[in-house]
């Protein structure tokens, strides 16, 4: 670690690596060359000693003593995680963790941050399915500072309302961005399918996050943050007796037993294979997730399953990668995950593949899984997998903190004390017969769920050959085949009332205005009709110009154009209606320009027209409106859904407004709009999912 801050140019490893062939060159036929030296005998990994203690209040302590550097890492794990989120309120554990250091009975969020900064340390908290973890790292001399802070945030958090709202907004925004990601939709649907009613299958949704109140966090904290439910994991420059004394001092007044173990609904294995197809209009890739339940982490077959995972889909040497990417070129990568949990885990084979090869890719996945079950594992493949696992193991236990995390992780999964210490030897002892037996016992492709997220109009027929198929929309609701067709709008929109206007918006980044957008609306004769024309120009952050026009009385689109230069990225959309068709071109960064040619259906919106449709629509609490629209990214026809999800008061530069909160889905990017309750419904504020950017009305005239 050098102090010099010199720009370092790394070798372009990826670029170079791509030249690599499918088989390692040094295993090919003998050459008249010197071979690299054979490995020296593998060193025994003497797994570092660790100590276990129990505090008087019942909290358990694991200590990894290592005096090499004067550094201590302290972690407190509460053995309750997202699986104890109240039904319908997925996200409680996660928000509880995020808010721990945002205020206590005696310290503000700023004070907590200042205190840890001053000593050059770090403090953080996070939640997983099975646990909440609060961690701090400091130099030994500041150990008491860390203990004071961890004790305070764990025992006395106040969960301030304003901090909750900030965190909720951040979470919702990230979620909304996720909902636009096919990989996220696939993961969410996969977990739902595999776990059913078991809470491992419930990921936070916008609804569940909105339903969470401060009382939920207070309640979760009061129930679960008990010393009887706590494990301290201390690693580094500490002496066991001394750290126990300090923990007794800082956590002495903390009392309480672990909550009674909640009984969770048992996840049910499937009896037959099922395809679950999530329709994502315009998708150019099929996102594939194949899998099912596996036994809990304590099952004795898990070491063999780990080796099976490495053979099948571990990194670039696994069969999936070698075949689906290297041999066939279907995808950038294909892998397998075998997830270990306290309760049942799961097996998952996954890849994103080109639309055209969705069926071929599924066939290869099933062929390779069958090959594993049939025990057809070449000795060289078994050795490659085991060499990697035993070789890389020591690199994962290099620092005391890594050691402690491995031990605590195993403990959390209910595994025995020597599990980590003996792992490498157990892997080395696995035979091809072990792998085959474990695969036959636990891997069942004929009882797997196959989640595919993609454009059903393109690939549903390819995929449904593999089993009975259920079709869902992106929200997870059942979709009929007939819903795939984009239908003419039943709502007749009339834009005659739209008046010429100028509106100026601030583009706000993390609370600071960074650019300005001006929209000018005019009424003029275009192509012989009375049209609404709207031009929006953004300055201050790249350059963007959007121009649209449509016939006022009928909303019949005339054209829609976007030119944008943002950093290195250029966007160009040029669509117009000619002879009953939408024609033109869409050019986005990093993609070939696409030609668009679509039939115009009744009520069709071109990109940018949604704002005006909303302006004249009948809005009311709970109202929902679906309109056919052209996706500005894919050029595909889709159904844009506009839902009124709330009412509130919003203050922006132009003043205070009573607004409806709208969610727009099914368009190019999910977004949230705040529009005036009073008609015409003018956009007051716009939030783009997952970006710390909002657009706010500054002035209008």
């Amino acid at each position: 670690m050098t102090r010099t801050r010199i720009a370092i140019r790394t070798a372009t490893l990826a670029a170079l690596g791509l030249a690599a062939g499918s088989a390692p060159a040094w295993t090919q036929e003998a050459r008249q060359k010197e071979a690299p030296p054979a490995p020296a005998p593998m060193r025994p990994v003497e797994f570092p000693e660790f100590h276990e203690r129990t505090l008087e209040n019942g909290a358990k302590v694991i200590i990894v003593e290592n005096h090499e550097q004067p550094v201590v890492s302290l972690e407190l794990r509460i053995a309750s995680g997202a699986k104890y989120d109240p039904v319908g309120k997925a996200g409680v554990a996660s928000l509880t963790a995020s808010l721990l250091d945002k205020g206590t009975a005696t310290r503000t969020a700023d004070q907590i941050a200042e205190t840890i900064d001053f000593v050059g340390g770090s403090l953080s908290a996070s939640a997983s399915d099975d646990a909440i973890s609060v961690g701090a790292s400091v130099l030994t001399e500041f150990l008491d500072t860390a203990l004071v802070l961890v004790s305070d945030v764990v025992r006395n958090p106040t969960f301030p309302e304003d901090e909750l709202e900030t965190e909720r907004r951040r979470t919702l925004s990230a979620l909304q961005a996720n909902l636009g990601q096919p990989q996220y939709l696939a993961e969410r649907q996969f977990l739902r399918e595999v776990y059913g009613e078991h809470p491992y299958g419930a990921m936070p949704s916008p609804e569940s996050v909105r339903a969470i109140t401060r009382d939920d966090l207070v309640g979760f904290h009061r129930t679960h943050f008990k010393p009887g439910n706590a494990l301290f994991v201390v690693a580094g420059d500490v002496r066991p007796d001394d750290i126990v004394r300090r923990l007794e001092r800082h956590f002495g007044g903390w009392t309480g037993a672990a909550p009674a173990k909640a009984s969770l609904p048992a996840p049910q294995p499937r009896s037959a294979r099922e395809i679950v197809f999530v329709h994502k209009p315009g998708a150019v890739q099929a996102v594939i997730r194949i899998g099912h339940l596996l036994p809990p982490a304590t099952h004795p077959d898990w070491i063999a399953l780990d080796v099976a995972q490495q053979i099948l889909g571990g990194g670039t040497t696994g069969w999936f990668f070698q075949v689906l990417r290297q041999e066939k070129g279907y995808t950038y990568g294909a892998y397998a995950d075998f997830a270990q949990r306290l309760e049942p885990g799961y097996f998952q084979a996954w890849a994103e593949v080109r639309n055209e090869v969705a069926d071929s890719a599924l066939a290869e996945f099933f062929r390779l899984i069958a090959k594993l079950r049939d025990g057809d594992v070449p000795a060289a493949d078994l050795e490659t997998a085991k060499d990697f696992m035993t070789g890389s193991f020591p690199l994962r236990i290099e620092t005391p903190q890594q050691v402690a995390r491995q031990i605590a992780g195993a403990r959390q999964l209910g595994l025995p004390n020597d599990y980590v210490a003996t792992y490498r030897d157990k892997v080395a002892a696995i035979t091809a017969a072990d792998v085959r037996r474990a695969a036959q016992a636990h891997i069942h492709p004929d009882r797997a769920v196959v989640v595919v997220v993609g454009d059903a109009t393109q690939i549903l027929d390819k995929v449904e050959k593999f089993g009975p198929t259920r079709l869902l929309d992106a929200d997870g609701n059942a979709l009929a085949r007939s819903d795939l067709e984009v239908k003419a709008s039943e709502v007749a929109l009339d834009g005659s009332s739209i008046q010429p206007a100028t509106r100026v918006y601030d583009v706000v980044f993390q609370g600071n205005p960074v650019a300005s957008a001006t929209t000018t609306v005019t009424r003029e004769q275009i192509e012989g009709v009375d049209a609404v024309r709207s031009v929006t120009e953004v300055s201050g952050m790249g350059t963007t110009r959007q121009e649209i026009a449509f016939e006022a009385a009928t909303f019949r689109p005339l054209f829609s154009k976007v030119e944008q230069q943002m950093g290195p990225a250029t966007v160009s959309i040029d669509l117009r209606v000619e002879g009953g068709k939408v024609v033109g071109k869409i050019a986005l960064p990093g993609a070939e320009p696409r030609d668009v040619s679509l039939d115009v259906v009744q009520g069709l919106l071109l990109p940018g027209m949604d704002e005006y449709a909303i302006m004249v629509a009948d809005l009311a609490p709970g109202a929902s409106l679906t309109l056919p629209s052209v996706n500005g990214q894919t050029g595909a026809l889709g159904n844009l859904t506009i839902e009124v999800v709330g009412e509130s008061t919003v203050t922006v530069g132009a003043g205070e407004f009573e607004v409806y909160e709208l969610e727009l889905t099914g368009g190019a990017t999910p977004m949230k709009l705040y529009v005036t309750k009073a008609a015409p419904h003018v956009v007051v504020k716009q939030e783009i999912a997952g970006q710390p950017v909002s657009i706010e009305l500054k002035e209008q005239g």
């Binding site: 670690m1 140019r9 170079l16 004067p70 950093g567």
Partner: protein, 460 residues
């Protein structure tokens, strides 16, 4: 949150605030030996985990490039992943991960490094690949042409296609400095990359990639005896290379010849950027310690001076940072700031200048200095927990301080810095006569020309 209330809060908590209780850091023990051909080897035994880091530095960087060959040291680094007598192109990149390890190579103005982190029983594999690279590289027109394209693509991707990179990495750096070896950027110019030939590669290889210009640092679960045996076996027969002439003496710092100023148009930038740099002495100069902590006081963390003033109080900047580019030759003390909408760069410049003047006049408080020391110590010590980071550190002290043993003495010098020292270096180096100001403005698309993205000359 005001400064005083932080102090009060700290006192109320009874938290350790001073370094009275600061522990001494355990020394990093190491041995070294040098082969008759000049190859220097430094070994740190650490038997806690059966892991080893092998880190080879060649004491050559872009500072050593010939006129008209900028970018060559980095291009050459790529060649060291190509064919050798017993290895195919790219084979190292497959062998190391297959053995459970990781690897990389990097180039800067002062050195080029190549390293692996592996299970300890594969020390032999790592050293064998380094022997191949030091003694048996096979350069030919084809592999050279291929890698040159890869490097040009890297330049396109990370410089020409990234906002500010060309302006900061190419124009500013060379404008601050007058030292000849640093008058061009490590990434080089396209023209120079195009002009390079396979013969240049061979000449560079023979001159710089020789045992007497290389140092191997090894840390991990190995013994000195075992390392010596393997090193002698693999490297003993490689002939010594020519002795190298030292680089010219560093130019004096601070400069006293007056402010330099340039405005650069950047076609990729979306926001304007203010950059301000001051020429500072080579890394081994005694003022480096105070300069490093000064930078921390200016901009590390949300309670730092510039963050509080420019981002929180004035809401003038989206972001402001300062840092040291400290190296073998003269370096720079840099400030960068991005404005909020409607804020002129001139205002950011004035605010930063005002904060600098304030610090020069009033100095810093003991608590600010202590915080900077805590942050620095913490970073240093936490960065010593892996065998790889220890190899980098030993190399750093050998190359930039002339003695690896400095690894166990250097931190004390940071801890000895006083508030007077901080004010003194601010007064000495952060002067108008030593200042270089660059403003980067987004290129207007209206002009729509194919003009180069920088209007400054002399960069390439």
């Amino acid at each position: 949150m005001t400064f005083r209330s932080i102090v009060a809060a700290g006192l109320a908590l009874g938290l350790a605030a001073g370094n009275a209780g600061a522990q001494t850091v355990a020394p990093i023990e190491f041995s070294e030996f040098t082969l008759p051909n000049g190859l220097r080897v430094i070994v740190h035994e650490d038997h806690s985990t059966p892991v080893v880091a092998v880190n080879v530095w060649y004491d050559v960087g872009s500072a050593h490039e010939e006129p008209g060959r900028s970018g060559f040291a980095h291009l050459f680094e790529h060649m060291l992943f190509q064919e050798t007598e017993n290895l195919e192109a790219g084979e190292i990149m497959r062998m190391i991960p297959a053995a459970g390890g990781s690897f990389n190579g990097t180039t800067n103005s002062d050195r080029t490094n190549y390293f692996e982190i592996l299970p300890a029983n594969r020390l032999n594999l790592s050293l064998w690949t380094h022997r191949e690279r030091m003694a048996k590289l096979q350069v030919n027109a084809e592999n050279f042409a291929r890698e040159r394209e890869v490097v040009k693509e890297e330049r396109r991707r990370s410089y020409e296609n990234a906002p500010y990179r060309e302006a900061i990495g190419v124009t500013l750096d060379t404008l601050i400095n007058d030292w000849k070896p640093y008058d061009h950027p490590t990434i080089g110019s396209m023209a120079d990359l195009d002009a390079a030939t396979a013969d240049d590669v061979r000449r560079f290889y023979e001159r710089y990639y020789v045992p007497n210009n290389a140092t191997i640092v090894i840390a991990g679960d190995v013994t000195v005896a075992e390392v010596r045996k393997l090193v002698e076996q693999y490297f003993g027969d490689i002939p010594r290379g020519p002795e190298l002439a030292p680089l010219p003496r560093p130019t004096p710092t601070p400069r006293t010849d007056g402010e330099r100023r340039v405005t650069v148009e950047d076609k990729l930038a979306t926001l304007p950027l203010l950059a301000m740099g001051f020429n500072i002495p080579p890394h081994d100069h005694a003022d480096t310690y105070a300069l490093q902590l000064l930078s921390s006081i200016f901009s590390e963390g949300e309670s730092s001076r510039l963050h509080r003033r420019l981002v929180k109080e004035e809401r003038a900047a989206l972001q402001v940072v300062s840092f040291l580019n400290s190296r073998l030759g003269p370096g720079s003390f840099l400030f960068y700031a991005l404005p909020n909408q409607g804020v002129e760069l001139a205002r950011l410049e004035a605010l930063i200048a005002e904060e600098i003047e304030k610090l020069k006049n009033e100095g810093v408080t003991e608590r600010e200095l202590q915080k900077a020391k805590n942050q620095f110590r913490s970073g240093q010590i936490m960065g010593r927990q892996t065998v790889f980071s220890k190899t980098q550190s030993l190399h750093h002290y050998r190359r930039f301080h002339g003695d690896p043993a400095e690894i166990n003495r250097d931190l004390d010098r940071y801890m000895a810095v006083t508030t007077d020292d901080i004010r003194a270096v601010a007064r000495k180096y952060l002067t108008e006569a030593n200042r270089t100001v660059m403003t980067v403005v987004p290129q207007q698309r209206a002009s729509d020309t194919d003009a180069a993205s920088t209007s400054a000359s002399g960069a390439e």
